[in-house]
Symmetry: C2
Subunit: 175 residues, 2 copies
């Protein structure tokens, strides 16, 4: 079976992966959840080639996971924003984060941590807040810089880390 036939399987996982199971697509979505909206910002953050990014964004728009909005008529420039369908992919991303934090993190710890707004505590597990058991969604969580970034910044590493600007803007939002 070729991969482009995989969505014919009677399986929600196969059908989901036929849409977002591409190598780059999940990282594009990660950036979306962190507030990235413009073509050039995705490209800087990911280091993906332009034609590949163009193709992937187009497919996400086709799948109605992202929507293209024009934000400057004279420039004809747009931003890509998550739809409701896209926002609901949040638990997928969060569960990847949880697993990655536990099993792939370097000695510095998690690069980002996630705060559950209703209760103010860090989220540890897949899609439930350890502290209050409340439901977790993209709207109730704020990302903050975690030790995995902070320690490296303090040590002067990450100087030409392309995503640093992004993380700085996150930090400001969370202050």
């Amino acid at each position: 079976m070729r991969w482009d036939e995989i969505d014919s399987q009677v399986c929600s996982i196969a059908r989901t992966l036929s849409i977002i199971g591409d190598k780059w697509t999940m990282l594009i979505l990660r950036d979306c959840f962190l507030g990235v909206t413009r073509f050039s910002d995705f490209q800087k953050s990911l280091g993906i080639t332009k034609h590949r990014l163009s193709d992937r964004l187009g497919k996400l728009v086709d799948a109605e996971i992202l929507k293209k909005h024009i934000y400057d008529e004279s420039y004809r420039r747009h931003e890509y924003k998550l739809t409701k369908k896209g926002i609901e992919l949040y638990p997928v991303l969060m569960s990847l984060v949880s697993w990655g934090d536990k099993w792939t993190a370097d000695k510095d710890g998690a690069p980002l941590e996630y705060i559950h707004q209703p209760c103010g505590h860090k989220i540890n597990a897949g899609a439930a807040c350890e502290h209050c058991d409340g439901a977790v969604s993209a709207f109730t969580v704020t990302p903050i810089l975690g030790p995995g970034i902070m320690k490296k910044v303090k040590r002067g590493e990450l100087v030409d880390f392309d995503s640093q600007e992004m993380y700085t803007s996150i930090k400001q939002k969370s202050n």
Copy 2:
């Protein structure tokens, strides 16, 4: 940036995807959680070519997500079993299922449903049981056949559906 450099990103999602972000790997893991252990069963269920399956299983073993056990010394035949590290990928799979059930299911509904053993109810959301709010893990859930399979079977479709045997064995386990 090439994909094989992606694990250098300071991001748990990127590092996780560098291990399991491959097109087929998640589907192999899906089968693992459904109880598939043998090379030929993976191949039948997935329709993946043998050399690709061989490569992917090898990488999962290298990543310590699967462990190879010999189950028949004279035949030199083995089975692939999830390690603790692998079992903890369960929330990732469950969140893909939830999203897929909601956004990609056909009119028949979800192909499989998941029962939370402690309370006996279906799981709806990412990683929490709707009914009792208890924690969800691979050990406390039993898959049963959902309407998306059952209705097709009743209509006589799926006759040469390769995975049918697998689903039948699931059904028996859950009876």
